[in-house]
Structures are given as C-alpha cells and as structure tokens.
Symmetry: C2
Subunit: 274 residues, 2 copies
C-alpha cells in the first residue's frame, strides 16, 4: 500500500509528491528541515524537534503558517494514516514559489515518513571518520545546505572512512548529520559548544553526562582527537554511535568504550520514558 | 500562450513543470546552474556559458547525460518553440532523485526561458552596495548555494542598498550574482582574481580592458573601495552596472564614470558581434 507524503497540508501518494521548479530550494538551495523518529508509532523527543524547527524557520526568515498545535495534529494524522511503527519523519520548509527566483515567498512545507530499522544495541565496532576544515553557514539553523557534505562523499569513500568530521581554527565542531563527543584522558565527556547545529540527542546526552558529573564545559581541539579515550557521534537515527578511528588513527582500543556504553544505555531509557 | 520549460528533455508547460520532492536540491540544496541571455532570439556568449555549465557540473560530481551538441540542439528548439526574442535561459542540474536523500543520483536537468527587458544604455545613477564578510563555498562552480545571498536580503533592504558585496581576509570578491570591478586612482581596471565565480561578462570586460591597456592584475582590497574613482558590477543580465555608493560612501562623483561608460559601449559591440 502506498504511503502518504504531505505537501502544504495535502496528503499525496509518497511516490508522486512534487513541487514546482520555481521553488526556492531548486532555484537557490534555500530552506530548512527537521527530522525525528517514531518508535512503535510514538514520536521521540517531538517537542525538542518542534522547538528547533520553528527556530530554524525564524532564523532563515521563513514563516510557518501552521501553529505548533496544528502542525502536531498534522504529524499525528500522518503517523496514523501511514501506520509505520518505526520511522523517520522529515519536515522540510522551503523558500516557496519565488516569482523572481531569488526572494523568499510563502514557504512550501513537505512532510515525509519513511520506515527505519532502529538498532537498540550500541555498535561495538563503531565507525571511522576523516577530518576536514570547514565551517557550516548559519550553523545554528538546520538548513538544506549540505553542499560540502554531499561533495565530500567520494573523498570519504576513497579514504575508506564512514563519515567526515568538520573543524575550523583548530576546534572540532560536528559531522554533517551528527554531533561529536569525546571522553578525554581525565574521563570527562566533552563536546564543542558553539558554531554547530545543536542536536536533540546531543542535548539529552549532555543532560545525562551532567547528571553523572562527567561533563566538562570546553571545546574539542584537533589535539584532543589524538589523545581521547573514547569518541562517539550522536543523531536521531544513530543515537550514540562509537567512533573507533579518526584519520586512520585508532581511538582507545578500537572498540566502543565503557563511558559510551553507559551513556547509550541511559539514553535508551530516556527515549523510552519520553 | 503558455511557454515551455524542459525537464529531462521533455517539453512541459512552464507553469506546471515540477520535480519530485526526493530531488537532492530539495533534500540537500545540491545542484548547479548556468544562465545566459538571448537578444533577438540569439544566445549571447553561449559557448562560454556551456563551458562553465559543464565545468560546474564536473566540479560538483554531476554527470550531464547530453553531449554539448545535444544540449545546444535542445536549447535552440526551446528558443524556437517559445518565440521569446529577449530572454534569460537558465539550465539547472540537480543531484537527482536520491534514494537515500543524501547521495548523488542521476541528475535532473531543468531548462527555463523567461522574458527579459534588456537595457542597452548604461545606468548613470548606478546602484548602492553594502559589504559583508563571506566566502562562497566551491566558489569556482555556479552552485545552487545562495543561502547567504537570500538570507541577507532583509539586511540590504534595511540599509537602503541594492545589493551586497562579499569580502574575506581583506580582499573584496564578488556580489552574489555579479562580479565587481573598480577603476583605481591610477585609472586602471582592477578585479579580484580568485575565490569567486568567474562570470562570462567579467571575462569579456577583462579582454576589452586588456586591449585598451587599462588592466592591472591584482586583487581589490577593502581599502581600494575607499579610494577608487569608479566601480561597477558585471553580469549577464546587468552587463556593466555602475556602483555609485558603497557602505554609504559615494564613489567618485556619484555617477557612472568615463571608463565604465567606455567599457560598457565596447561590451555592447562585442555582444552584438558575437
């Protein structure tokens, strides 16, 4: 059975949902989005994602013509209609059908739901990252700008890595679709504080680490990458995913470390209670 | 009568031409384009624009499934079918319908033609710019990334200016959709050499200025903006457009200067002969 996608509040078969080519995303790559998961048909950390969605829209001068309650109602209707228990839901807001192909118009809102197989166990092998000097534009907003991320994919593949980690002026910021944490030599959980997108899982990991008195408020430097005991990334799809290699150098003993495992367990509980 | 837009070689009524929402421009703002004008139904500097179109595509790992000759044939067919004498033609190439919404797929090519009223006379009053610190990503390619340009529009309006001029590390680069030139105190034509999109009109103005022995090969600094005798921007739609105010400071006597006028006349001749 065909699933539904919503375009400007209209429910359309997912395979045929389209926008006119005058949309400012196609003309100028302009728009924002947010993405959250559902587990057993229940949205996880939805309020956090709605906070960020409206914040990103405002930061990019885009007006949302639905109130928060109206949007929530629409999302729940989609979840009910599609009947996909474990899924990822993406809300995209573009610059709209711009008469001159340059100025912001009435935004188009597109909501898609796709099935997602969620792992409840932390990966023991983890992933491998390469570093790249780059600073995202308007990094506090979840914009559509993934130019560098998409462009770097052949480079990542060529180096046999799984993803890329951005840094600028000696400070390590984020992966294109995930935040980045280390456990430093003193056993503290560290993540860079500014010039990055503040992820929802990042927020909850910070709360958990704070509750365990494991948090140190400072930025991650390039040197930290060479000396850290553990490293991991966080995102709504990946939860806590260990990083066991950075630029070819093995992190710790090359497997998920004890602090990463502890935080991962506590995060699973927090998401389930939510 | 409805005009046509081409989507992947199919001629569609311009008003209804659309792409699926899985296109990588909507998912990740990923794609490139080029834009040229027609005068009396004749494309201007077409070979230059095709050079740049294929170069931008290659730089962004996008494959064009039409040979240069096939693309030219398609463009001429559009010009013939639409019958718009003076127009702007835009060829957009996106990252295509990406199964995972992240990796590059078979690109979608969209070709639009819109009527354009072309001025043959140089503007005497010129325009007003504000400066902004910014460096375009992959600046040698004509990508869809106009995030900063679109985002800055309210700021430009608020300051009563017409457009924005980017600079980085003390070097002035370009406007979002135009190149920037000055005539310095010694009467030389100067434009920054790298980290910017090399416009087609820029290329021809450089050739003209070189032929007149007016060219100086160096970059424009922020200090140059305060001391220049004349300034102008170049683009396919604007040709040579004088800049008579920068950050509130009047350039020269506040009107189009003699070198700008001379270059503009010679450019008109060159475009007509082409």
């Amino acid at each position: 059975m065909s699933k539904f996608t919503i375009v400007n509040q209209e429910f359309l078969p997912a395979e045929t949902a389209s926008v006119l080519i005058t949309d400012l995303a196609i003309q100028r790559g302009y728009g924002i989005f947010d993405f959250f998961k559902t587990i057993d048909g229940r949205p996880v950390f939805l309020e956090d994602h709605l906070d960020r969605f409206y914040n990103s829209a405002a930061a990019m001068h885009l007006t949302v013509d639905l109130s928060r309650e109206e949007l929530k109602t629409l999302l729940l209707k989609l979840i009910e209609k599609n009947g996909i228990a474990d899924s990822g839901i993406r809300i995209t807001l573009t610059g709209g059908y711009s008469p001159d192909g340059y100025g912001i118009a009435k935004p188009n809102m597109i909501i898609t739901q796709t099935e997602m197989i969620l792992s409840k166990q932390i990966s023991l092998e983890g992933i491998s990252l390469i570093t790249h000097q780059y600073q995202r534009q308007l990094s506090y907003a979840k914009t559509l700008d993934y130019l560098m991320a998409v462009w770097l994919q052949p480079v990542i593949k060529e180096k046999g890595a799984d993803d890329v980690l951005y840094h600028n002026n000696g400070i390590v910021s984020e992966c294109p679709r995930a935040n980045f944490f280390i456990i430093d030599q003193s056993g503290h959980v560290v993540t860079t504080r500014e010039n990055l997108l503040k992820g929802i899982i990042r927020k909850h990991v910070l709360e958990i680490a704070g509750g365990l008195n494991l948090l140190q408020h400072r930025d991650i430097t390039l040197d930290d990458l060479k000396n850290c005991k553990e490293a991991f990334i966080t995102s709504s799809t990946k939860n806590i995913l260990p990083v066991t290699k950075i630029d070819g150098r093995v992190v710790g003993d090359g497997y998920a470390g004890p602090v990463s495992k502890l935080l991962s367990e506590k995060l699973q509980l927090k998401a389930a209670q939510h």
